[in-house]
Symmetry: C2
Subunit: 142 residues, 2 copies
Amino acid sequence: MDKYDPLKLENQLCFPLYACAKEIVRKYKPFLEELDLTYTQYITMMVLWERKEMNVKTLGEWLYLDSGTLTPVLKKLESKGYVTRKRQKKDERNLCVSITEKGEELKNSAIEIPGKMGACISLSPDETKNLYELLYKMLRIL
Amino acid sequence: MDKYDPLKLENQLCFPLYACAKEIVRKYKPFLEELDLTYTQYITMMVLWERKEMNVKTLGEWLYLDSGTLTPVLKKLESKGYVTRKRQKKDERNLCVSITEKGEELKNSAIEIPGKMGACISLSPDETKNLYELLYKMLRIL
DNA sequence: TGCACTTTTATTGTATACAATTTAATTTAC
DNA sequence: GTAAATTAAATTGTATACAATAAAAGTGCA
């Protein structure tokens, strides 16, 4: 009868995406625990390792997160001494998040994480590239 | 200098996966709101539309969720009248979750969602198949 | 039988996520 | 030049997620 039922979990594209994302974040956990970072804190630091300084709105655009999520994450990172939070002189509405010296140093401890994670995922380079491009294509559409 | 920095967000496979999953769930939201379901409630119902009855542990294995997440979701679905929760006679440790008549009827309202979502995602059939298979390959590894 | 061990679910505590609202600062319209 | 509109961040409320623990039920073996 219903040989193909669109409402079966296994016929959904969304579900493996959702499950995969969760499982990968879970895989990161032991590596990130060594740095006392959560995944959200980690990707926030990744942006700051690259850009040094950014307001909350732009950070949110990079990370696909809003201020409701970022505000507590940034306060946490500030309390750990990895970032500073200051209102911009030119426009006090903007909160400028800057990486500290201690935040920069954290990068040295994080540098091995991508390699370790790559070993966990173990897709071929072609498959990885393929997946990467499909995901970014989808992100552009969404 | 650092032409290729593994700690750049854009060089990570994990990040587009994480972002894509979130954005897709967000895309579902307006469709699911019409049914007064959250995404987690929706995928739970999808399993029950297919299997009618399942204990929490097996449900968790299908959905990659644990009892800490499922218990409140199932209580909510029970309060809406879509499922019942009963201890199994044979082994009282197991909680048997069963779909109700009202739960079955909900499927008629949900039937159009996958098509609407497919229109939002708009990858080609080949790309969709490709992505689907890469994600399931990865899930098997993880 | 009885007691250690395992299994299943529920609870607790922490950290996201995000919609909706609020607050404060800035810009636009007129 | 000021009121209205817009913008950025923070706050509030709801719903996940998940680790760790607790509680209850079942199993196995001396």
